[in-house]
Amino acid sequence: MGAATVYVLGTLTTLLCAVLLMRAYARVRQRLLLWSGICFVGLTLSNALVFVDLILLPTEVSLYVARLGTAAVSMSLLLFGLIWEGE
């Protein structure tokens, strides 16, 4: 139960960041907001997959690569945005 709470809270946090960033992007069209927003959308997905994988799915099925893959793509996009739009 404690583990599930941690996964859900993590998902909600990244979701909040994603919503705030995308909302701001819709308003001011600042590219850094877009890239970081997409990153947090991806991290939300990655966190949600952790919940699905470890709580909902049986142990024979592993979403590990999907979890890692979405996180890797998300962080790469964030880094791209920070480098390209940060200054």
């Binding site: 583990a3 946090t13 952790v50 590990y64 962080m75 480098i83």
Partner: protein
């Protein structure tokens, strides 16, 4: 752990630590605590992501790993709350 999984972890760790450095620079320029929180969060996560390299069944993680991740997120949440409570910044 397969080589590909190790590779993905490497990408995550490198990108997280690099992002943490960027946020640290932004904090230095703006003195806005929000950036310090993001920097700390991504730094913690970057180091934390290496945890699975050392455990038996990395795809299950361990409670410790997820608690540390939660700590990183709580830092961000706290900074957001603080930003919205302070008067004008």
């Amino acid at each position: 752990m397969s080589m590909f999984e190790g590779f993905l972890i490497g990408v995550i760790v490198a990108a997280s630590l690099a992002s943490a450095l960027f946020f640290l620079k932004f904090w230095k320029h703006t003195r806005d605590g929000l950036f310090l929180a993001f920097s700390a969060a991504f730094f913690i996560e970057g180091v934390n992501r290496m945890g699975p390299l050392f455990i038996e069944r990395p795809n299950e993680g361990s409670p410790a790993i997820y608690v540390v991740r939660l700590l990183a997120f709580v830092l961000i949440l706290a900074a957001i709350v603080r930003k919205n409570r302070a008067p004008a910044h």
